[in-house]
């Protein structure tokens, strides 16, 4: 039962949680758990989108900037109502995702480079738009909605869970999922099979942008602020999570569940580091070295040993 990479990772997480519970009283406190759940909700959504892009051999560095933009838009448009403002935030993410996808699939720019460009451009956009000042929310109902819980589980976490399950199913069982894996495995073969590769690629980036937008909305809702400076290292965290979860840079392998396990592992590790008061600089070093080790491992690991 514990043969696949993902299940090994999952097991590791369980063990890690158990270990931490013994080492520290603070870990299981409700407040701490809630913090973990919330952080996972936000980054988890982005992990879903990024996994899809990366399985397809793509890459998106702009998610942090997109998240910031959508957060700002949600708060600024609050006067239009809760639903419209959320839709605007998500739509912004979707549109930027389409833009990224267009640059990669149609203009054929290397995705690392083009999303580096959009990352800077969107950051500039949101900073100029807000004049570097956060957009604070004034809608009381919205604030309450963001804190809503069902049987102790935060609404925002439920939203994340909902999307995870849907997209896990899509990637595993549908036609689209198969095409994403084929895109990463052998784009030329997919093209020769008669599938419109450009559309598949474009849509993967659109989905990634959608999730970045959604994550921004959720983050802004919870903090009741749209901050234009957040998300500087989000892309790195998310990519590290996806790589940890079994996806490689060359694509064709990986799973959303695995990536979420990866995110969970990193999230818990950082949480534990915070509990034990390790400085944020060390955390930075940790993530940097982790990333390098992960791509090293990805190279060494015999690709395509598992069946899809």
């Amino acid at each position: 039962m514990f043969k696949t990479y993902e299940s090994k990772l999952f097991l590791l997480i369980i063990l890690f949680i158990i270990l931490t519970t013994f080492l520290s009283d603070d870990f299981l406190k409700t407040r701490n758990i809630q913090n973990i759940l919330f952080a996972i909700s936000v980054e988890g959504l982005m992990v879903i989108g990024m996994t899809i892009v990366m399985i397809g051999r793509g890459f998106d560095l702009s998610i942090g900037s997109v998240m910031a933009l959508s957060g700002v838009l949600v708060m600024d448009c609050q006067h239009l109502g809760i639903i419209p403002s959320c839709l605007i935030g998500v739509l912004a993410g979707l549109i930027l995702g389409l833009f990224n996808g267009f640059l990669v699939a149609y203009i054929k720019i290397n995705p690392f480079i083009s999303t580096l460009g959009t990352m800077v451009m969107v950051r500039g956009l949101v900073m100029t738009y807000t004049n570097a000042r956060p957009a604070v929310g004034e809608n009381f109902d919205f604030m309450m909605l963001a804190r809503e819980k069902f049987f102790g589980v935060p609404l925002l976490f439920i939203i994340f869970l909902f999307f995870s399950i849907i997209f896990i199913i899509i990637i595993k069982r549908t036609l689209y999922g198969r095409y994403i894996y084929a895109l990463g495995g052998n784009e030329e073969a997919l093209r020769l099979s008669g599938v419109n590769v450009k559309i598949i690629k474009l849509s993967s980036y659109a989905i990634c942008g959608f999730f970045a937008g959604l994550a921004g909305v959720i983050l802004a809702a919870r903090l009741n602020t749209g901050s234009p400076i957040i998300g500087e290292k989000t892309a790195l965290n998310v990519i590290a999570a996806v790589l940890l979860g079994g996806t490689t840079l060359s694509g064709g392998v990986g799973s959303i569940f695995g990536s979420l396990c990866g995110l969970f592992s990193i999230g818990i590790t950082i949480n534990v580091m915070n509990i034990f008061n390790i400085q944020s600089y060390i955390q930075k070093i940790f993530i940097g070295i982790l990333l390098i080790l992960l791509i090293l491992y990805g190279k060494r690991k015999k690709l395509f040993n598992k069946t899809i």
Partner: protein, 314 residues
């Protein structure tokens, strides 16, 4: 004819040069010209490193971290005497080369994807830097005149950094055009497998390219430190991005294997002039980011378009 089309970037430099008239009437004074050159000298020197890494087929996204680290290191030496000034030059250079070595090993020997690896080292270097200075600003009290001279002095009326700029570009040109390293670098960037099969030690070439990048970044850091004399280690100067734009503008291929250092200089000039005019037009720092990002996408999009649509539209 081919010479003209390969170097057509200089036409754009010329055009922008003419257009600067609209930005400011004082633009064409000798003094201002020298000022512009001084301003782009830091970017220019850094671009040499980026260009060399790119010709070899790789990226170096950690230069921002290396620059900051070297600038901070330089100031931390407290160059109040000639001896300390020497230290404040040599130590940062060592740091820069060391960082370059790490990058080189990761990409050259361990064969990691250069973009992700240098993002990883960027984070790691920054983390180490912040840890060593505990996140605090670094001030150099009482800097010696020699140290001050590095960035702010003038020789025969020309700012010192400009001498450095031209010297390094000429040196880089000679190395790239006439040395074995230059030839091998292009081969590695063009097709690493073929280069390897031809007997070129591709790993060493890549390491050297990153060493040079680290060196150039450290020089840039020293110049910055000498100019401002206090550094915020969290500043996170986004030089990697600007440098990449300038280098690609200068005709260096994104896929590696081709680059002409004098055209890179043209790219640097263009970026510098545009930056200058944005400041003159009083746009905010963030608008600058927006415009730079946009220009970057245009430049890169055009490069990709040329690359991909000259072949069969498959």
């Amino acid at each position: 004819m081919k010479f003209l089309s390969n170097n057509s970037i200089w036409i754009i430099v010329f055009i922008i040069f003419i257009l600067m008239f609209f930005a400011s009437e004082n633009f064409y004074t000798l003094n201002n010209q020298l000022n512009v050159l001084r301003q782009v000298s830091i970017l220019g020197i850094i671009c040499i490193g980026i260009a060399i890494v790119l010709i070899g087929g790789n990226f170096d996204l950690s230069i921002g971290a290396i620059i900051t680290a070297c600038a901070v290191t330089s100031l931390a030496m407290q160059p109040s005497s000639p001896g300390l000034t020497l230290l404040s030059i040599i130590i940062p250079i060592t740091v820069g080369i060391l960082c370059g070595l790490i990058n080189g090993i990761l990409v050259g020997y361990l064969n990691l994807n250069s973009i992700v690896a240098t993002i990883g080292t960027q984070f790691t270097f920054t983390g180490f830097l912040l840890y060593s200075v505990s996140g605090q600003h670094v001030y150099a009290f009482d800097t010696h005149a020699i140290y001050f001279f590095i960035s702010n002095g003038r020789l025969f009326g020309i700012p010192f950094p400009v001498y450095l700029l031209f010297s390094f570009y000429i040196l880089a040109f000679i190395i790239l055009k006439f040395s074995l390293f230059g030839r091998y670098l292009e081969a590695v960037g063009g097709n690493i497998r073929s280069a390897y099969l031809s007997g070129i030690n591709t790993k060493k070439i890549i390491v050297y390219s990153y060493l040079i990048s680290g060196l150039m970044s450290s020089l840039g850091g020293i110049l910055i430190a000498s100019r401002v004399r206090n550094m915020d280690p969290t500043a996170g100067i986004g030089y990697e991005f600007l440098a990449l734009t300038a280098v690609i503008l200068g005709g260096t291929k994104l896929t590696g294997g081709y680059g002409r250092i004098f055209n890179v200089f043209a790219g640097v000039l263009i970026i510098g002039l545009i930056s200058n005019s944005i400041t003159l037009l009083n746009l905010s720092y963030y608008a600058k980011l927006l415009i730079q990002g946009f220009i970057f996408l245009l430049v890169v999009g055009y490069d990709s378009y040329l690359n991909n649509y000259s072949k069969a539209n498959v």
